[in-house]
């Protein structure tokens, strides 16, 4: 077992993990962050996307031991009390989801994308979200949601 200490959504968590434990499983099973979901389990779909030290990563493709000392943000850490993150608000307003399974990952990737490019074009949004699959194929509204989020966050012209 390896001892790890990880800041998750602003709270420090410690624990012993088997080296083979995937970060997503540790977050869900030990920390209780079940908002982060496992989709494909082959690092394709992006449903398990979180921010690790500020950048988007697929938490099914990181070992929990590798997160030792890191700061992690999950979908459960982006709102402030009852105040939603603008990307969450935009996804609701633009109905950027159908079944909702891909949504936690889409939102986290969108936050990363808007951090790097506050005013992305439609093409840049589609490329920026290429690591996230929506099996309902609801991409049009997801793209609109990210455009709306850029507007809410003050990036859009």
């Amino acid at each position: 077992m390896q001892h790890i200490s990880v800041n998750v959504d602003g709270t420090q968590y410690e624990g012993d993990v088997e080296p083979r434990t995937l970060l997503v499983h540790w977050l869900r099973n030990e920390v209780g962050k079940v908002g982060t979901v496992v989709g494909c389990d082959t690092s394709n779909c992006g449903a398990c996307t979180i921010l690790m030290n500020g950048r988007s990563v697929k938490s099914c493709s990181v070992l929990a031991v590798q997160a030792d000392g890191a700061s992690v943000t999950t979908i459960q850490g982006i709102s402030t009390g009852d105040d939603w993150h603008p990307v969450q608000t935009a996804f609701k307003e633009c109905h950027g989801l159908q079944c909702g399974y891909c949504t936690p990952g889409m939102v986290m990737s969108a936050i990363d994308l808007l951090g790097e490019n506050p005013n992305p074009s439609e093409a840049e949004i589609r490329e920026g979200l290429e690591g996230n699959l929506c099996r309902c194929t609801g991409y049009h509204n997801i793209v609109r949601s990210v455009e709306k989020a850029a507007e809410l966050m003050g990036g859009a012209k």
């Binding site: 080296p19 083979r20 990563v57 099914c60 990181v62 031991v65 590798q66 690591g131």
Partner: protein, 283 residues
């Protein structure tokens, strides 16, 4: 799936990594983990020991001093494609890296890890081959350098020995060259069915020198030397197209669910034409 159990050690220096590698005859190096984790999860491999090299700061830097751009093996794809010196002097590498997988994977995955993994479908090996990159490998008896032409041995096999670690890759500077990476795949984030890395030096509207690398047309990346020679002096689309016909000379592509042998040869020719035309700015 969950990987089979393994022992784990995190190295913070190259020496620590080499010591750990020497301690087991069944160790695997973990860089960014974006190739290794899927392999472990699918249990295609179950090493006894994982040596995590993602915390070795000394192999993460990018140094553009002198006549080369030397990139630490642990530099992430995201760092490589956004580095000003890479973009200015090894633009083809930045262009190919932008097409690797997706943003999340580019945040974790490393140039060195991808090159040492040597997946025949990968986008950066043909760039390293075409641009005559030089690989520095650390081992028990010190460091040695290997030219790209001797680095790729077969599918998932390179010159890096079991007890060695790839520490950096040095690219000569190609300031002023035009370049383009032409990738053919069917869906976003998918592997190349065929990919072409092209760089050209123009002189008076004509191609003076060309470097062409092909990916996924065999077990290793391929340098299209016949095309490179035929391109010298080309100044029109017709001349580029004629030279690109040589792109399938001597290649032995395989058939898989994406493409049969003839289609891959066709793609090699057509994509080479497109890549060179874009690199040269000729329409």
């Amino acid at each position: 799936m969950i990987p089979a159990a393994f022992d784990y050690t995190r190295a913070t220096t190259v020496d620590e990594a080499l010591t750990a590698l020497a301690s087991s005859d069944d160790a695997k190096i973990l860089g960014g983990g974006q190739s290794l984790l899927p392999v472990l999860r699918q249990r295609l491999n179950a090493p006894e020991l994982i040596v995590d090299c993602s915390a070795i700061d000394e192999i993460k830097g990018i140094d553009a001093g002198g006549d080369k751009v030397t990139i630490g093996a642990g530099a992430t794809h995201h760092a490589v494609m956004n580095d000003p010196a890479v973009k200015a002097s090894v633009e083809l590498l930045a262009q190919a890296t932008e097409t690797v997988a997706d943003p999340q994977i580019r945040h974790r995955g490393t140039l060195g890890g991808s090159l040492a993994h040597a997946d025949p479908r990968a986008d950066q090996p043909p760039v390293a081959l075409a641009l005559d990159a030089e690989f520095t490998i650390a081992g028990p008896s010190g460091k040695r350098t290997v030219p790209a032409s001797e680095f790729f041995i077969g599918p998932f096999e390179t010159a890096v020995g079991e007890d060695e670690l790839l520490v950096s890759v040095a690219f000569p500077k190609y300031d002023g060259w035009g370049s383009h990476y032409e990738k053919f795949n069917r869906t976003a984030q998918a592997w190349s069915i065929v990919g072409i890395a092209a760089a050209v030096r123009m002189d008076g509207g004509k191609i003076a020198e060309a470097r062409i690398g092909l990916t996924n047309v065999g077990g290793t990346p391929v340098r299209a030397t016949a095309v490179e020679q035929a391109l010298v002096g080309a100044s029109s689309m017709a001349e580029i197209a004629a030279a690109a016909e040589r792109a399938s000379d001597g290649i032995e592509p395989f058939a898989d669910e994406d493409a049969d042998v003839e289609f891959r040869k066709h793609l090699a020719r057509v994509l080479t034409k497109r890549a060179v035309a874009k690199a040269a700015g000729i329409e």
